[in-house]
Subunit: 578 residues, 2 copies
Amino acid sequence: MQHLKHCQGLASVFLIRSQSSRISKSIIPSLSVWDGHLSSRWRSTGGHGRQKYFSDRVPKFRFALAGLLVGTGAVLAYRLHQGKVEWAASSAQLPVTQTSALPVYTLEEVTKHCSLDNGVWVTYKGEVYDITAFVAMHPGGDKILLAAGGSLEPYWALYAVHEQDHVFEILSEYKIGVLNTESIKKQESVNTLDPYSAEPTRHPALRINSLKPFNAEPPSSILSDNYITPSVIFFKRNHLPVPRVDPETYRLEIEGLPGGVVSLTLNELKSCFPKYTITATLQCAGNRRSEMNTVKQVKGLNWGIAAISNATWSGALLRDVLLHYGFGPEVAAKAQHVQFEGLDKDVTGTAYGASIPLNKAVSEDGDVLLAYEMNGEDLPPDHGYPVRVVVPGIVGARNVKWLGKIVVSEEESKSHWQQNDYKGFSPGTDWDTVDFKSAPAIQELPIQSAITHPAEGTSVDASDGEVTVKGYAWSGGGREVVRVDVSIDGGKTWHVAKLRTGDKGQQAPPPPPGKAWAWKLWEIDVPLPHRAQELEIVCKAVDSSYNMQPDTVAPIWNLRGVLSNAWHRVKVKVNEDL
Amino acid sequence: MQHLKHCQGLASVFLIRSQSSRISKSIIPSLSVWDGHLSSRWRSTGGHGRQKYFSDRVPKFRFALAGLLVGTGAVLAYRLHQGKVEWAASSAQLPVTQTSALPVYTLEEVTKHCSLDNGVWVTYKGEVYDITAFVAMHPGGDKILLAAGGSLEPYWALYAVHEQDHVFEILSEYKIGVLNTESIKKQESVNTLDPYSAEPTRHPALRINSLKPFNAEPPSSILSDNYITPSVIFFKRNHLPVPRVDPETYRLEIEGLPGGVVSLTLNELKSCFPKYTITATLQCAGNRRSEMNTVKQVKGLNWGIAAISNATWSGALLRDVLLHYGFGPEVAAKAQHVQFEGLDKDVTGTAYGASIPLNKAVSEDGDVLLAYEMNGEDLPPDHGYPVRVVVPGIVGARNVKWLGKIVVSEEESKSHWQQNDYKGFSPGTDWDTVDFKSAPAIQELPIQSAITHPAEGTSVDASDGEVTVKGYAWSGGGREVVRVDVSIDGGKTWHVAKLRTGDKGQQAPPPPPGKAWAWKLWEIDVPLPHRAQELEIVCKAVDSSYNMQPDTVAPIWNLRGVLSNAWHRVKVKVNEDL
């Protein structure tokens, strides 16, 4: 495992790779000397700013990150700071206020310090820290800048490794003030004035595509850090305001079965049916839509590559519930679809709706859940609390959240989203010629993969002799990803990546055929060609049906920008070793 | 329906389109005048020969063909010859021997007359005909040349429309002699000297890729003429000599079930289990391998685009048989595969073998057949008489013929063809680096389509203003083909083809989700761009999981040349209107 290798060798890797390539590698400098070099280098970057900093440094820090996120490595990494003694020496150069009379800042003042140019300030429990000088030393690399100008808490909740005494000690060295009371309240407040007034608080790392309704994806740089995506950064795809549902009064209605309408309480759903857990990846039909926009403008949210995430889901099997309430051959002889209706409604009272084929709903192999837990906890409000449908292998849009009603029917859902949206068309079809009836509603999704590291426009270090490429791959319909090919020359030659089905070498046993609901993460070190100046990194995945991704975007372009699964391409520069 | 249009308009379409583009279209000439024109033109073609003839004429004759093959149109077409009176007038110019003292020919002499340059001779019931002058008038177009130098019977058996009195009357006009007795015997004889001595007689239209073992595909020009491929031209893919099995002594053994080994007679298989019929397309993993060879040489038979065919299959459901003999949860808890062993064996006694996942074999939706009929008749010897497995949606290689044994097992088949063949690899994997254990055995096949008309290197007529493009599309795993996109500019712009699921407008009802076992045929008339001189015609299909074909061959190239499903491309010239 590539991953394990990084972890075991982390101490030396971190020290060596974290250095600027412009610093001689013949001597491993003490931390204070090193700090000095880095500080002076930042000052000299002048107007280059954050972008320049990222493009120079990102690849190196990522090496350390791989180790960080697997736990043991992270502790080792933080211990490299060698306690307070050495810190005290280096901190003499830092703008730390060491008196008890600390300045009071407003949130607005903190927010301005969100870059290396303006200084990197963060808050933690009402206190303000200037961590500008620490950024280069952060074992997690540049990801620390996601919190710049805001609060650390949501990130530390995500990466619990930070919740340790020696990390608090390091942080304390950078304290420069406290927040005023109003700012503290503001950090926790939500707007109470519009239909979106009850929206839950979201993780600040999310890249927001639309605020109302809320649609957001995690930064692609952190997407593949966890095999199970933490719920807080799991992509959010809401079509309407998030309904706040009282679990006591919640009822799930079921229609279309012989005994008439069924009305289930949350407690009945939880207690009357076996609890079943699956790990399943959900993907928005519009994932990677932004690449289609580069061909020709499409309609839809401009998703990057991260409108896809992976979680464990627990709940009752839809099959069990339908069978319990009378589903049998008599119903099957007529019905062909199972419709779902959400409790999220627009101003006219129209609810979100979708349907799936009956055989998916009732098949023993379908694994369709009426889920009430995500990653071992109650569903978060953004993910359908108290109950949602999880239809593994099927486009996100049919995984109806805040589930209010199930209808076993001869017909598909009549909702806009089933009939006049989420369908694929030929590149030659435009809004003047489109006939939504001519295409089937998207259900299973095609084979997909993307590169999460390195990022577009960054640089890799020629002295490393190789480039580490990472990403995810997934396919719909329970088809297992069996191979990911990676090219660094735009697709002329190909290398086979290593796949994993868990964190830190926790490979899951292979799923039964047709039940590979979860993605695979992949990684590969590709040797750099001699004197390469630029790389076009490309990935393409293959699933168990040996379907592969199409080469280019234009021939799969469609007016709604869905099903964007061409080879993912990332261009990076190669920094020559001096 | 495009098809219907052709059929209804056949009389005029045939007359007009069958003319040479160099003949004025302002007058519809009488048949005799028309014959005179064509005859003189043939004589003037001099050394151009058959290839030239084909490239000039093929597209026009194909228009008539569409009508011919749907029955009614064919009768109409033949009646255009207007009986014997007009024939007598035109036949004065033809080399017809009208005396009773006919010359006697050998088969060798007939065989030499296999082109328009050397004359087109055919035999029928021991008599010899020179049909050179008739070729241009043949309502079925140039396909008549498939029989040139040989016997008509196998083709007329394929296109039963010929078995009519007025067709025999037309033919009689061209009689020039009789075959000698030895030749008649030779036509029916088979070589009796080697392990392949008992091979069945094959249809002469087949394009042979390997004689021993026999591997052949139909000419792509006739592949999409029938929605149900006639058994005689259904592609043949044998790994070993065809075993001749006595139905009386035939036994099917079943192992791995609680009651011990089962031994079933053919009669028991037919009488003890319900007979179930499906229409299913089978495709060889190596279909379209020849396109991979143009990138870099691969190992394997050089299949064109026709190692795929569609038939109806009848037999017992494997699921029914396994359940009857004790398959249940106890077996399912351990077993994961169902192995098949053929009665075809190599010199060491090793039988052909393969396996499929257990869930495919026993699922209600799997539709796996122990088939004893193909297209309503006993299986032909080349297709597994008396019993074969038909695993719809799965690569041909697992559809074991001459089935001798079924084993329910924890393991895959250990056969060479399961373990060290029929697997897909990265383009970067060569014979020095390949590890067959690293890839899964091919089961479901990916989305596929190809162009059957027009043929590569032929010409289309600019005066038509459009080009008719036809082909097939199919996907594995029961995924329905939902769209075929066609381009005539190499993939820059796309048009949506019309799909059909039967002959002559006999559209089948849509299959249940996940049970689309049969291909779709498609057709489209694409307007010709002004002053186009060459077209690069391209097709790509989309299935119900919205998987699409990859753009190019090189990135899916693999050392065995399997899974060749890139866009199919055909280049044709445009003949300017004079």
